[in-house]
């Protein structure tokens, strides 16, 4: 860490875990196949602090990207064939994301 300097053993342990979390992404990502339904992206993801703010693609920002282009994981309904109206109640995802509902295929 650059700004928080770990001093005691416990802080160093947490720091190592933080650094380790970043490193573990690389090798795993290389093995993940591309493709809408096979991708293992976790979907409704939060960051280490429990929020979505720091994520590169938080759910509320790119919901439609997942929905329309089938980029995001399989647990988002597909707009192409089955659930064309799913996002009707959610005009502005940043504000309204919680109003969208579950689907039961």
């Amino acid at each position: 860490m650059k700004h928080v300097r770990a001093i005691n053993q416990k802080a160093r342990l947490i720091e190592e875990r933080f650094a380790g979390a970043e490193d573990s992404v690389g090798p795993l990502a290389e093995r993940i196949p591309f493709g809408c339904s096979t991708q293992l992206a976790p979907g409704w993801e939060v960051d280490s602090g429990g929020g979505t703010y720091g994520l590169c693609t938080p759910i509320e920002r790119d919901l439609y990207d997942c929905y329309h282009s089938c980029y995001w994981p399989a647990q988002v309904p597909d707009a192409l064939t089955n659930f064309a109206d799913w996002s009707r109640s959610c005009g502005a995802p940043v504000q309204d994301w919680s109003s969208i509902d579950l689907v039961f295929p």
Binding site: M1, H3, N8, Q9, T52
Partner: protein, 494 residues
Amino acid sequence: MKFHTTLFHRFESDGVPFAYVTPTAAVVQLDEMTSEIIDNFSDAEGAEPGPWLETLEVERQPQAREAFDELAAMGMLRPVGAPTAPPAQQPPMPYPLATLVLNVTNKCNLSCTYCYEYGEDRVSNQEKPDGTPRLPMMTEETACKSVDFLLKSSEGRNGVSITFFGGETLLNFGTIRTATEYAVARGKERGRPVAFALTTNATMLTDEVIDFLVEHKFGVNISIDGNKGDQDRHRTFSSGRGSYDIIVPRIRNFLEKNRPQGRPVGARVTLTAGMAPVPETYHHLIDEIGFDSVGFAPVTSAEDREYALADGHMGQILADFEILSQEYVEAALAGKRHGFSNLHDLIQEIHQGINKAHPCGAGLGLMGVSTEGELGLCHRFVESGEHGLGTIEDGIDEQKRSEFLNATHISKKIPCHECFARPHCSGGCYHEAYVRYKDPASPNLHYCDWIRAWTDLGLRSYAAIAQGNPEFLLNFESASGAPAPAIEKDEVNR
């Protein structure tokens, strides 16, 4: 989403800001950016990171974002309302014992006025539940059975330790000798080393006793209150005569014979009203008598005792501890050990980041055994039927043990949840709480302010060493393996 800071304590050393993060017991050094973030997110209602970031100059924003993430990773920032981690569970039960404290006698040849065994605040009962008097001395048979019980109840651990306690422990030297030799033999058979410790008032440190203690590498704690005036005020024979002149030549003889191969010897001072300043007592015991370390503990008593420490006394003790802490830091910066064991122990906990769910090992890895073989939470509770935990014959009452550990878990001590010193204190001594509040599960609210001030002093001292001579802190990074010899830290007052 709003974020706010978690519970932490900010302090400075040499103008540099540090923080002690309570949920994790991590100690971190802050910089300008992290300090600024903490200031902006310390409100309980929290703040939105986005709008705050935009108040910064554009070129500082990437840095601020990075610092924000680091604080979140270190557990210092959390989303408001985010569910907290579930409280740590009890260790898997039955938890293996590490230490057994054998009360080899409840008799004493001194009549210290403040003693919790015989004084006004005793919890022990000299009669058994059936009304018959307890044996004044533990028999050799009970002591050896206790050794077997310990070896059986500590499966999974490599070494174990036995602490002999009293009364005046050495009044029953015969049992100590037999139990020690038995434990060495049984330990060898099973390939499990046994370490020994005892606490004594030093009146009976004869050459024979000394040779035995040195040979078996006993960790020895000697209860002594300081100079002649202070020692003789409370630590008297039943005639009222002081004990200083009797014990000091014996202590010197012991220290001399022990030094070449024995373990360091600690003095344990009970602080009462009217004593000499703590640094004076420290230097008397270290420089003039020759102890390796000195630990101080305020007397355990109800408030109205003549020797009880009032708030003013506790303030003076803290000021005195600050003086000794400065000495400790100066020694550490020069790469030398200093014998102020209260601070030494505190720095050890701070460096390792110890975060306690229970204030001590009583009922967990440590138990006391009465002269009759009854098990108690610790040596202070052994003869109080109410806090009994079984017997060495029938084993540990696991249900009672679990109930006690559940009731005393830090998650149940609500006032502690707002306190930054919680990882170190965890509510404080059960016996102290029992004497004050008649409830061992109660946090010791009468010394919260003092503990916070003392923890702050420990943190400042720690940071000064981390800045000036970090190599010194390697002394606290002991490899796990052999168990630390059981020297009870609170074995004063007796």
